[in-house]
């Protein structure tokens, strides 16, 4: 089994060992008995069957013993699971947001990241939100998993990491095209290191150095937010319209039931990101894209625009 790295691991793995132990015992035992029977009571060796229509005593025995065993399994399962539902009152509060097809994590001080950064030996409480469809947050090494259900308030999950390092974090509820690419990492840091990282809010505003390649920065944002899962760069249609040659073109749209044409400019890009269903590109379905308000900043939109412009060159 993969390395355990949270306080839940022991309880869960105990239940695993208990259940799998009993299971292997019965599986191997019954299989051996069957093979023995196949050999001993083969018609060549045992031409005349000895009739026996049943035994109430045996039926009771093999009802009661398995019943006791499964009650044991229920108990171990319950004990290993109980602490997951007992969410501590204090801890690092982080809001986990899921959308097709990326995670983002918002810290109390406004910092938003793609990877989940957490301190070691400290309770971390995640509030789970989903924008569009059901996703599920799964960290195998921590033995935690909970669905992220749109519209379900106060859906929380907690854990306490016990080992430094970075671990895989998957989406486990099927959510469409790029479901299998919807994974990121949890990074467990020493508490001091974490709090230093946490205090470093320079990350909230993007540091754009003089002379940096703005289009490249824009491209990185577009990639990290998962835009390319729906909008191609080569002119093909995936789910949404392509980005290729879009900048500066006249887009046929439907706005509140009215057909019109709008110029693909900064305002159009900004509105499409914050209010995707306001102008619907003709031939595409509404309700496919959800607002990125609070997830993509105005500054980032400027960089995205630089990237879109660069596609025309």
């Amino acid at each position: 089994m993969n390395s355990g790295a949270s306080t839940f691991v022991e309880g869960v793995d105990n239940a695993f060992i208990f259940i799998l132990g009993i299971s292997f015992f019965f599986l191997i035992g019954i299989t051996l008995v069957m093979i023995l029977f196949l050999y001993r009571y083969n018609k060549k060796k045992h031409p005349k069957a000895v009739q026996n229509a049943g035994s109430t005593k045996l039926e009771i025995i093999w009802t009661v013993i398995p019943l006791a065993l499964v009650m044991g399994m229920f108990y171990y399962g319950y004990v290993g699971w109980k602490p997951m539902k007992r969410i501590p009152s204090e801890g690092v509060e982080i809001t986990a947001n899921a959308r097709m097809w990326s995670f983002s994590f918002r810290y109390d001080n406004g910092r938003v990241t793609d990877k989940l950064y957490v301190p070691k030996d400290t309770a971390v409480i995640l509030t789970l939100n989903a924008v569009d469809v059901i996703h599920s947050l799964y960290i195998p090494a921590f033995r935690v998993k909970e669905d992220m259900v749109p519209g379900l308030a106060n859906n929380r999950l907690w854990f306490e990491a016990t080992k430094l390092g970075s671990y895989s974090l998957f989406c486990t509820e099927y959510c469409g095209l790029q479901h299998s690419y919807m994974h990121t990492e949890v990074v467990v840091m020493e508490p001091e290191e974490f709090w230093t990282w946490y205090a470093d809010t320079t990350g909230v505003a993007l540091p754009v150095e003089e002379g940096a390649d703005l289009a490249l920065l824009g491209r990185q944002i577009v990639e990290s937010k998962g835009c390319l899962a729906c909008h191609s760069l080569d002119g093909s249609t995936i789910i949404g319209p392509t980005f290729k040659g879009a900048w500066g073109s006249n887009v046929p749209v439907i706005t509140q039931g009215q057909q019109r044409e709008v110029l693909f400019d900064y305002d159009y890009v900004r509105r499409s990101i914050y209010e995707p269903d306001y102008d619907i590109h003709q031939g595409y379905r509404p309700g496919q894209m959800f607002s990125y308000e609070g997830e993509i900043s105005e500054q980032q939109i400027e960089l995205i625009v630089e990237f879109l412009k660069s596609l025309n060159e």
């Binding site: 000895v50 009739q51 229509a53 039926e59 398995p66 009650m71 004990v79 599920s136 486990t172 959510c175």
Partner: protein, 537 residues
């Protein structure tokens, strides 16, 4: 009626009715012909879905793009699931062997409502056709998975509606078959066949029929609500309008968990027929098997929540469902113990159906025991929605129902077609299939425990090893299927003719009638005095 066409001495295969050619089949109300209609339809679609499965496993042999893109992969596993669940395993044994053998085994000339029985097949075919249109029309094949989870199923632009509506129509087929079987068993048993003199396969069909009647309407209304949601936006499951997507999962699993018992119970019944015959020994604990069947049917109705342990349900619901789930494990265990005890001190005839039955017990145990891992709260949180679940349900649904189906097919084949298959090829096919099956699905348990989620088109390199083994297993297993099917299809047309009424030495009524059965099965309805597996002589 001319002598050559007398219902009492002409085989059902040769009987000339009102219609000729194909119409003599698709408009026949004879339960045996309807059984074969289902069989042929299922074998066709099973082959299609097996190929889809093979393509998916081939895609997974290495990370990244191997032979298809993600959209294709997603629509393949959706179609694979819809075909396998709604077209094959849910109707499965009841529709094929239940239709064919239930009336004969209880000493009746047909089912209670023969016309309804034919209508049921027509609903089935129409449902299939509607599902298939989803592949070729509109905005591309559906990509929701067979579960149609809200809200994805009405957010995706793909062609979900026909798939959902087709499944809805097939529900009628299931309900009508269930009604037919319950009434047949209540009203048409031969004189002297009391409830506890009835063979076990009809007993399991009885339990199954009740679940079909009581659970199928639940999926019916759920699918209708999905259709209403997609067409009109009524908001019942749409979180944007205040609906609760988890309620969809409740309704879906209120049907779909009992549906698992619709799938497996008749399989258990078929195994309970085969084991005593090839042991030449009466079944051990007949009443215990009957009671456990009915217990599974009843308790199975209230354990649906174990599909939703990580869905965001309340904690109290979680442990109530976990507790009930463990209770439903017991009756299955009782059955396994009884089967093994039946073999004890028997005289075992090692023939193809018996190989299938014994291997059924083995794979079913693996499926059942891994189910305990999934029923326990702590371990479920870790393996839920991973490859562990995929392996578990393939062990139950394919390992359980699939093996039982093959066992039943090899067991009843001579009676159905009046021809015998080639035993050596049949045994070889079984051997290759068995090896392939375990190579394919056992590594998935390991992948799941390592944390590989299900419905993944692509995966991290850490999971590569297990996937290679699993994909190779898929190729071996499909080779086995090809051998088995080729042998059976060849034998049904050109196999050695036999009119031996009882090639295996069975004691139930179907082995006392002609091979193949005449149109009305019995010249005179027999009077039953003995129990079903009476080998005392």
């Amino acid at each position: 009626m001319s002598e050559a066409n007398n219902a009492h001495n002409v085989s059902y295969l040769e009987y000339k009715g009102q219609y000729k050619g194909l119409f003599a089949w698709i408009f026949s109300t004879d339960h045996k012909r309807i059984g074969l209609l289902y069989l042929y339809t299922m074998l066709l679609f099973f082959s299609v879905a097996a190929i889809l499965g093979l393509l998916m496993k081939t895609q997974l042999i290495a990370p990244g793009y191997t032979i298809m893109g993600p959209q294709t992969y997603n629509s393949l596993f959706t179609l694979h699931g819809i075909i396998m669940i709604f077209i094959i395993v849910v109707p499965g044994l009841p529709a094929v062997f239940g239709n064919f053998f239930l009336p004969i085994m209880i000493g009746a000339k047909d089912v209670a409502f023969p016309k309804l029985n034919l209508l049921s097949w027509w609903f089935y075919i129409i449902g299939i056709l509607i599902v298939l249109t989803s592949q070729f029309m509109g905005d591309g094949p559906p990509d929701t998975g067979w579960t149609f989870y809200a809200p994805y199923s009405f957010r995706t632009p793909t062609n979900v509606l026909p798939a959902v509506f087709g499944a809805f129509v097939m529900g009628f087929s299931s309900i009508l078959t269930g009604i037919n079987f319950v009434v047949t068993i209540h009203r048409m048993r031969a004189p002297g066949m009391t409830w506890f003199k009835m063979p076990l396969f009809p007993w399991t069909l009885y339990g199954t029929a009740w679940i079909q009647i009581l659970a199928t309407p639940v999926i019916g209304i759920t699918l209708l609500l999905i259709i209403a949601e997609r067409l009109m936006g009524i908001g019942i499951f749409d979180p944007a309008l205040g609906g609760d997507p988890i309620l969809y999962q409740h309704l879906f699993w209120i049907y779909s968990h009992p549906a698992v018992y619709i799938m497996i119970l008749p399989g258990m019944g078929a195994i309970s027929e085969i084991i005593p015959v090839f042991s030449r020994k009466t079944i051990f604990g007949y009443k215990a098997i009957v009671l456990s069947t009915m217990a599974i049917a009843f308790v199975g109705y209230f354990v649906w929540g174990h599909h939703m342990f990580t869905s965001g349900m309340s904690g109290r619901a979680l442990y109530a469902f976990s507790f009930l789930t463990f209770l439903v494990a017991i009756p299955s265990a009782i059955k396994v113990f009884n089967w093994v005890s039946t073999m004890h001190r028997g005289s075992l005839h090692m023939q193809t159906p018996f190989y299938w039955a014994v291997s059924f017990i083995f794979v079913f145990m693996i499926g059942g025991l891994t189910g305990l891992v999934l029923g326990s709260l702590a371990t479920n949180v870790h393996v839920h929605d991973t490859h562990f679940v995929v392996a578990h349900f393939h062990f139950i649904v394919f390992g359980g129902t699939g093996y039982a189906f093959m066992a039943a097919l090899h067991y009843w084949f001579p009676k159905m077609f009046g021809r015998m298959y080639d035993m050596n090829w049949a045994n070889l096919g079984w051997g290759i299939f068995f090896i392939g099956f375990n190579t394919l699905y056992l590594p998935m348990f390991y992948l799941g425990i390592m944390g590989m989620p299900r419905r993944y088109y692509d995966y991290l390199p850490d999971f590569h090893g297990g996937n290679i083994v699993s994909s190779l297993g898929a190729w071996v297993m499909v080779s086995g299927i090809v051998i088995i099917f080729a042998n059976l299809i060849r034998s049904a047309r050109h196999g050695e003719k036999t009119s031996d009424k009882n090639p295996w030495g069975g004691k139930t009524l179907e082995w006392q009638v002609d091979t193949p059965p005449t149109l009305e099965n019995f010249e005179e309805i027999p009077t039953i005095v003995k129990g079903p597996y009476d080998y005392e002589d």
